[in-house]
């Protein structure tokens, strides 16, 4: 039967993340955006929430099980706090979840416990390439099997925290088949070059890098999933749902801020929210946010139930990307000139909204 209620456990989870997002992330996100880095202690507190170990089974050092729905709920709360911090905190998931989904038993045993430690894991994924025709199923980065080793060539962008990483999960086109596969690469290999920090319109607090792989050689067993390789669609489905969840949270933040402002701001003798032109924009935002959340939940629920969810997640991500941009843009509009000033958060949310669409949206879509 249809139901839209969180379980008590999910409520505790979302409450905890929401508290962290509103008290900690909201306290630092503007300074972090201006200074270009998130405070270590805030990240550490976020890590201590145990969000990732909660998705990893006990057998591999965690204390839960993989749930895309819970992932989506978490993403919404983190996105509500700050998308840059959320992407930072979730960056180890980009390695752990694919291992969980597609790794061999050996790989799970070797790597997953590294994501259940007290300190923030030094692992991140290298997926996106700086090309307008980027296609996850047709990558430029290549991996060629030479005897018992893979040799990787190519250039990746938007690799979160690459400079501090010890493990990179690199996606590359494999030899003859041309299929996309993922490879566990030691980030400190001398042929891995962390070239420069990326600069984007938004996400200034997030440290991302362009990474070059100059004939990096790794053992064949570092290919994720062994001979069978990965199921890219499943991996992308999970990240699409998470990103869509971030979009819902971001939009919710912008909507609430604009709503509260519109009730305070007086023009022509009345709060601007008394006018339909403003009130209708806000109503539209509320409707679209709710619609997107339902799309996200449905896709996540299907995935967790083992039902086909690839297309649902694709639609949810497409819808969420559009929605996040529309809502954050609307929020700036509701604040008028003040919305354009960096004293208010809405301009930052609009820049981040655009970023979700471009960097993450079109990538995973």
């Amino acid at each position: 039967m249809y139901s839209f209620d969180l379980t008590d456990e999910q409520k505790m989870l979302t409450d905890a993340v929401n508290r962290y997002a509103t008290r900690q992330l909201r306290a630092v996100y503007r300074d972090a955006e201006e200074s270009g880095a998130l405070p270590d202690d805030v990240i550490q507190t976020g890590w201590e929430l145990g969000l990732l170990p909660a998705l990893i089974p006990e057998a591999f050092g965690g204390f839960g099980e993989h749930s895309v729905l819970n992932g989506a709920l978490i993403a919404e709360e983190l996105g509500y706090g700050d998308v840059a911090a959320a992407l930072h905190l979730l960056s180890p998931n980009l390695v752990a979840i694919p291992i969980l989904l597609c790794g061999t038993k050996q790989q799970k045993q070797t790597y997953l416990p590294q994501f259940c430690t007290e300190t923030f894991p030094k692992a991140t994924a290298a997926f996106l390439e700086a090309s307008i025709t980027f296609d996850p199923y047709d990558l430029n980065t290549s991996a060629r099997l030479v005897r018992n080793e893979y040799v990787l060539w190519g250039q990746k962008t938007m690799v979160i925290n690459a400079d501090e990483a010890e493990t990179l999960l690199v996606y590359a086109r494999e030899g003859q088949s041309g299929n996309t596969q993922a490879f566990l690469v030691p980030a400190k290999d001398p042929r891995v070059h962390i070239n420069r920090r990326d600069r984007w319109m938004g996400f200034h607090a997030l440290r991302t890098f362009t990474v070059e792989l100059e004939g990096v050689t790794i053992p064949a067993e570092n290919k994720l999933g062994g001979k069978a390789g990965i199921d890219l669609k499943q991996i992308l489905t999970c990240s699409r749902i998470a990103v869509a969840g971030l979009g819902v949270g971001l939009a919710k933040a912008a909507f609430e801020y604009a709503r509260d402002y519109a009730k305070e701001r007086v023009a022509f003798g009345e709060p601007i929210a008394h006018r339909q032109a403003i009130a209708f924009m806000l109503a539209e935002m509320a409707i679209e946010i709710d619609a997107t959340r339902l799309l996200v939940w449905e896709a996540a629920w299907k995935f967790d139930q083992g039902k086909p969810a690839v297309h649902d997640a694709y639609l949810a991500a497409l819808y969420a990307a559009d929605m996040a941009l529309k809502v954050t843009d609307g929020a700036v509009q509701v604040l008028g000139g003040h919305g354009y000033i960096r004293d208010h958060p809405v301009e930052l949310w609009l820049r981040n909204g655009r970023g979700l669409v471009t960097l993450v949206g079109s990538v995973i879509v």
Binding site: A273, H274, Q276, F280, A283, A291, E298, S362
Partner: protein, 422 residues
Amino acid sequence: MPICFEVPPEILNQTQMARMLAEQVMRSISRYYDEHEHERPWEYINVIWPFIQQIEAANLKRSLRRNGAEEEEPKEKKRSTTHVRMIHMIEALSWGDAGIYLCTPSSALGGAAIQAVGTPEQKERFLTRFTRGKPKWGAMAMTEPQAGSDTSAIQTTARLDPQTNEWVLNGTKIFCTNGRLAGCESDGLIVVWATLDKSLGRAGMRPFVVEAGTPGMHIIHQEKKMGIRASDTATIRFENCRIPYDNILGSPELVRPDEHEEKGFKGAMKTFDASRPYVAASAVGIARAAFEFTRDTLAAQGITIPECAPLHKLSAVQRDLLQMEMDLKAAWLLTVRSAALLDAGESNTLEASMAKVKAGKVVTSITQKCVELLGPLGYSQELLVEKWMRDAKINDIYEGTGQINTLIVARRILGYTRSELK
């Protein structure tokens, strides 16, 4: 219950039957009744009537039980599936033909008002007829020539004649769906909104039940429409129309609005909490009909929807198809949520309006896009797509226009009253 998107098997079965009816009966007569505007689709009416009788009987029984329960043990919340079941049926039938679906013999909006505020005696007296005998219709007459969205402006009056202890109705109602079927073509009834005291605005308004054939009630006109032509849209004139005292729904006692906030009015306005999800479901049904037909027609030409693909690999037509598909899903999920909340006994006024806004908008844009994508085929009356576009538009108009429902959403999210946000 945790988050779940599973449709229960019994609802699936029922929906399956509705789908068969839609495909085999409704689709085959769809064009005929579009072209023969004021004829009645008896092929459909006779087939659906036995099912409706069962649903009406169950609803009546449940509603009477609720009356009893309220007195004994208050607030026993039990999860039902009534509304989720209904939206699935309505969606499936509207996929067949929305105009014909509107001809479904049932107590409809009239019945909903009686369920919402009627006494047990009134429920028995007025609603039992829908559980037996020949097909019957119920209708709701609110709209007047000078009062559409602004329902507080209605001019139809109800005056108590103390001599006979009867209410005397005077005024004209327009756009009454199934007004003629309910008022003179069957043994049905019409719930008519009238004012006891114009100076009280909404607080002075009450619904009254007028049974078919009551002297003084004249069905004077049937509209000719852009779409849903199979549906009966009537003008009704009340000329000293006398009805028994007990036909008033809710308390006849008048209170100043400031004393007691628009009580009688609000009670019956609750019927919109159910009817808006129903309209939204009907909208989704039409949208799905157009979408599926367009998708399949294009697929036959080699234009398909990818499971997932980067945007730069999609053609403009593929992007249109994806947009339609996700809009359709979004509207349906909002509709499902609004119905499920009602079943769970929770308030859904906000969510019902959200669903109505979204579905009204989406059905309009999807059907218009389908006509566009199919080129001359889309515009041709050889196919049904052009008809679906005509049928679609009403969903953004009745049961509160898109603007009025947006207004309701806006007031709710802002915590504003009518006077703060006009």
